[in-house]
Point group: C2
Chain length 220, copies 2
């Protein structure tokens, strides 16, 4: 008469943590932060809700881990798009384009990001993660910019490089935001071209994608 007990499956700690994090992200992306309850997360991860407190000290801890995972995924995807070889100018163009096109820029990523952002103000550790991730992307941009300008024979001091990075970061973020907020309002390549044109205008450096020297997925 009692419902049959759930089948007992033993799994490694890492795989369980990852499953919980992925379930959290999926729920938040789908139906907002409020949908990411411990029960829903556990169900989506295929385990019972007790596990979440067995692997994370609290739900907030799990949320934090999910936030880190998401942000690292975003940055890594953009960095990966740059590839290893080619000119700095081309790598910069590739990073810019990747940052305003799927899968980095899409409604799911924006929704997820927005869901996390408001937690940043209350939890200091989430704020730390936020700043770190934010500045890391900007630093990536800044070094590519400085390198690309150097290739063109222009030497900029650190202050100017910083301002360039802030401005280009803003363009990219703004377009990333628009791509996620109004995915049907633009052609698929339109935002990429606008991003490249704008960054080029800001830097005074033509940015054209060297399609044939585009790196492929093979590098790592």
């Amino acid at each position: 008469m009692s419902a049959e007990r759930r089948s007992f499956k033993r799994e490694g700690a890492d795989s369980r943590k990852e499953a919980l994090i992925r379930a959290t992200l999926a729920l938040m992306a789908d139906r907002g932060p409020s949908a990411a309850t411990v029960r829903a997360i556990a169900e989506k991860a295929g385990i019972t809700q007790g596990m979440i407190r067995h692997y994370f000290s609290s739900k907030e801890d799990l949320i934090n881990a999910a936030y880190q995972t998401h942000m690292h995924g975003q940055t890594d995807a953009a960095k990966r798009a740059a590839g290893a070889g080619g000119t700095a100018r081309n790598r910069l163009a590739l990073v810019v384009r990747a940052s305003v096109t799927p899968p980095v820029a899409d409604p799911t990523a924006l929704s997820l990001w927005a869901g996390f952002i408001h937690m940043v103000w209350r939890d200091p550790s989430m704020r730390a993660t936020h700043e770190q991730t934010y500045l890391r992307y900007r630093d990536l941009l800044q070094s590519l910019i400085a390198e690309a300008l150097a290739e063109a024979g222009r030497i900029v001091d650190a202050d100017e490089a910083r301002r360039f990075a802030i401005a280009c970061n803003a363009v990219v973020d703004g377009l990333w935001l628009e791509a996620g907020a109004l995915p049907d309002a633009f052609e698929e390549d339109e935002l990429a071209y606008i991003a490249l044109d704008s960054v080029a205008a800001i830097l005074g450096l033509p940015l054209i994608l060297d399609e044939q020297c585009e790196p492929d997925r093979e590098n790592t």
Copy 2:
């Protein structure tokens, strides 16, 4: 032994609605969307929780009204900064500066916006409000841009004006975002200058504020 009953105060419907909306915004800005419960909102508005359902059909309805109020306030503040007279170029500069400086750009506004954004996906009426507000600001920018370019003797077709508006909007949004996310990472005027320089570079049109023209660095 029974606690004394709350003093009975009769008020107009508009003032009550406004009080509820302001309380909602204050709570969301302060402690996130989850803190904006009907009880907390009512307490902050100085009334009992029954009133919220007396003036709004549901809590979601109140949230929607608060969203509209906030977004309209943001756009209106930027528009107001442009003033009525002066050249279009100067009005454009004023709008750009206003959009990346307080009170339009600040942590509270960002936190509030992020709190709303993730609701946009579930509720169609909030999505409608979102698109409408979004495009209205961009249209404001686009008309100012077209006018300013015309002043300089440059006629751009509708397609190019649209791309310019998208790009400038992106710069402004990105800097607005950074100003709200990392309020201590920039000098107070720094983002305004970067915004003006970037928009100027994108449009190929020098943007200098009339009233107080600090001769900043040359772009490019």
